[in-house]
């Protein structure tokens, strides 16, 4: 009897040591067993985007996991980049533009994603599983939610001839009726495309500046947020602008005569990602939320009934008509040029100076 007891004790001790060893050797396995619960601080883009996130992702997540989600909005990706970089506020999950991921990693402002807790990550398109905007980092820091392009939106009542090229911004009848996103990256991208240059390898920056100076007299203003541009198009202040497909779809659903067209020269692509900032205090719930948002069913509803952008999950079932509506056709995806985040990081300071010169 005694020897059996000793054996049992020895076994228990060995189990404890093995468990301790496993905790040290494989912390990810142990972390994966953390309980999903508590509160989740989510920050995302405002306006229609936030409404769709709440209605099609947050509500079902809350129902599924019983996690209380506090949703906060921000106006621009730049604003959120600064906030995440500063790292002063609790943010468990945040939306962030793909082009800012590399700079955020550089600033050590993000936590790596523990992919064992996000099984749906494997269902993303390979371009988003090993994204160029993470600059080749060993770990993954972002999960793409939706992607799209920034092309031309125009008022079909006021612009008689359908635009086909970025050079249509220069039509004399549109003087004072055009608007451009005032973000330096986008300004330079438009200038590069108009001068026939690769947005990820701009050889002649002075040509870009000259072209933007040429466009400037055509502009009513530089727009700064999606809600501002929506209002400018709806009130017919702006007749033609570079804008996002999902916002244009929403304007059309609301009865405004606004159409979206990808010019023959192509349009720069973008990705909206979800990240876990270093100020996260509920990492397990954050990962569960990301996994939930990447689920094919959830994403399908989010993009078809909520904000109409292309889903990053390739498993989302879409008809050809839906693909065209969302800009999610394989042809668009294959031709979309996403900014190289390392290239952006290396040049954005110079581009910002250029943008300031144009705006001054």
């Amino acid at each position: 009897m005694k020897s059996i007891k000793i054996k049992e004790e020895r076994r228990t001790a060995l189990k404890t040591i093995a468990a301790g060893g496993a905790m040290l050797a494989f912390p990810g396995v142990v972390r994966a067993q953390e309980k999903i619960g508590g509160e989740l601080y989510l920050e995302t883009f405002g306006g229609a985007y936030s409404e769709a996130v709440t209605a099609y992702i947050v509500d079902s997540f809350r129902e599924k996991h019983g996690v209380k989600v506090r949703v906060t909005n921000f106006g621009t990706g730049g604003e959120q980049f600064a906030k995440i970089k500063a790292g002063n506020n609790r943010i468990d999950v945040s939306s962030l533009n793909g082009s800012r991921i590399w700079a955020s990693i550089q600033a050590q402002a993000l936590l790596p994603l523990r992919l064992e807790n996000i099984p749906n990550f494997r269902k993303l398109h390979s371009k988003f599983q090993n994204p160029a905007y993470e600059g080749g980092s060993a770990e993954r820091y972002s999960a793409g939610l939706v992607w799209g392009d920034t092309a031309i939106a125009y008022n079909t009542d006021l612009v008689k001839e359908k635009p086909a090229s970025w050079h249509d911004f220069l039509r004399p009848e549109l003087q004072g009726r055009v608007s451009l996103l005032g973000q330096p990256l986008t300004m330079v991208q438009v200038g590069a495309i108009m001068t026939g240059q690769d947005i990820n390898n701009i050889a002649d920056l002075s040509a870009v500046e000259k072209k933007l100076e040429e466009v400037k007299p055509q502009l009513l203003k530089f727009w700064s947020s999606g809600s501002e541009m929506t209002q400018l198009l709806a009130t017919r202040e702006v007749w033609m602008a570079n804008f996002w497909r999902g916002r244009v779809n929403k304007l059309r659903e609301d009865g405004h005569p606004i159409q979206y067209v990808v010019p023959k020269e192509g349009a720069p692509g973008w990705v909206d990602c979800m990240v876990v900032p270093k100020t996260c205090e509920n990492r397990r719930a954050a990962e569960a939320f990301i996994d939930h948002a990447l689920d094919a069913g959830v994403q399908g509803k989010f993009v078809t009934e909520g904000i109409t952008y292309a889903p990053c999950n390739v498993g989302v079932a879409l008809s050809r008509e839906q693909q065209e509506h969302l800009g999610a056709t394989p042809e668009i995806f294959e031709t979309a040029v996403f900014p190289d985040a390392r290239y952006v990081a290396a040049n954005q300071d110079m581009w910002n100076l250029l943008a300031n010169r144009i705006k001054s």
Binding site: E79, F81, W102, Q106, L220, K221, R236, A346, W351, S360
Partner: protein, 289 residues
């Protein structure tokens, strides 16, 4: 204890009381102004390269602020806009403040309340109101088109003048309130005495009322000028493609490029110039007094 000892004790108690009263405000300023200002100053000497900020000490950010002509251009434009807004606000605010202080009688409190009411509404909403009023399909254009005064909508928004109008609207109370405080303090007897001695209304205003209201003029101008100089939202919402002001430039360094050291250097130079302006104004108005 003799009388001198008692006086010293009273003075000490008074000093301690004054210190206790000042302590909360001093702590507030230390935590929310002095410390952030120090962090800003400290960060302005950091180095920025390849989207990364390192704490290697450098003067490069200041060298860039003074060598790139775009910053001087934007700064001069900001000063010009702020000066215009200040002068227009003074011209518009003086008669209002004078009326409330000297003529309103029983309605003074009501008018003063009306002056403060706009502060209860967010500056964003007040600025957006101008977009609704002055837009192509806004109320003013609707009136112009309906009355036949214009054949096509008149473009009023998104220009430097729209920025000036928006700023005057937002900042006018900051001019009226100090003016009112100064004008209200003037003894009516001095004005009456001047008129009894044969001075006309204009002469009385120029030689009695206006000089006595100079402290209010000084404070009002200072407040409006500083607030207009650092304005961000109004140029952002109402400005056109070439209406960039210095705060917008600083904002892009923090939010677009993440070049906080350069943003910090710009903010420090901007703060220094503002402080020089405040000191100059103080000296000028003290000399006038």
């Amino acid at each position: 204890m003799n009388a001198a000892g008692a006086a010293i004790g009273t003075a000490r108690r008074e000093r301690a009381k004054a210190a206790a009263l000042l302590l909360p405000a001093a702590l507030w300023l230390l935590v929310f102004f002095a410390l952030p200002a120090f962090v800003l100053l400290d960060s302005s000497f950091d180095r920025y390269a390849d989207a990364k900020v390192s704490d290697d000490f450098t003067f490069a950010n200041y060298a860039r602020v003074f060598s790139e002509s775009v910053y001087l251009k934007v700064f001069l434009r900001s000063v010009a806009v702020a000066a215009l807004v200040t002068a227009a606000s003074l011209l518009l605010a003086y008669p209002v403040a004078h009326f409330i202080a000297r003529r309103a009688g029983k309605n003074r409190d009501l008018l003063f309340l009306a002056l403060i009411v706009p502060f209860w509404t967010s500056i964003v909403i007040r600025t957006y109101a101008w977009k609704i009023l002055l837009g192509t399909s806004g109320a003013v254009n609707y009136f112009l088109l309906q009355s036949g005064l214009a054949e096509a909508p008149v473009k009023m928004l998104f220009s430097p003048s729209a920025v000036v109008v928006g700023l005057i609207h937002v900042l006018l109370p900051f001019m009226i309130i100090p003016l009112y405080a100064s004008l209200e303090k003037i003894d009516p007897g001095t004005v009456e005495a001047a008129m009894d001695l044969g001075a006309g209304r204009v002469q009385t205003f120029l030689r009695i009322t206006f000089p006595l209201s100079l402290p209010g003029v000084g404070v009002g101008c200072l407040l409006v000028f500083i607030l207009a100089l650092g304005s961000f939202l109004t140029p952002q919402l109402l400005g056109g493609p070439g209406s960039l002001m210095i705060s917008n430039v600083i904002q892009t360094e923090y939010m677009e490029t993440g070049n906080w050291p350069l943003g910090g250097a710009l903010a420090v130079v901007f703060l220094a110039v503002s402080l020089v302006f405040v000191a100059g104004c103080n000296k000028l108005f003290k000399a006038e007094e």
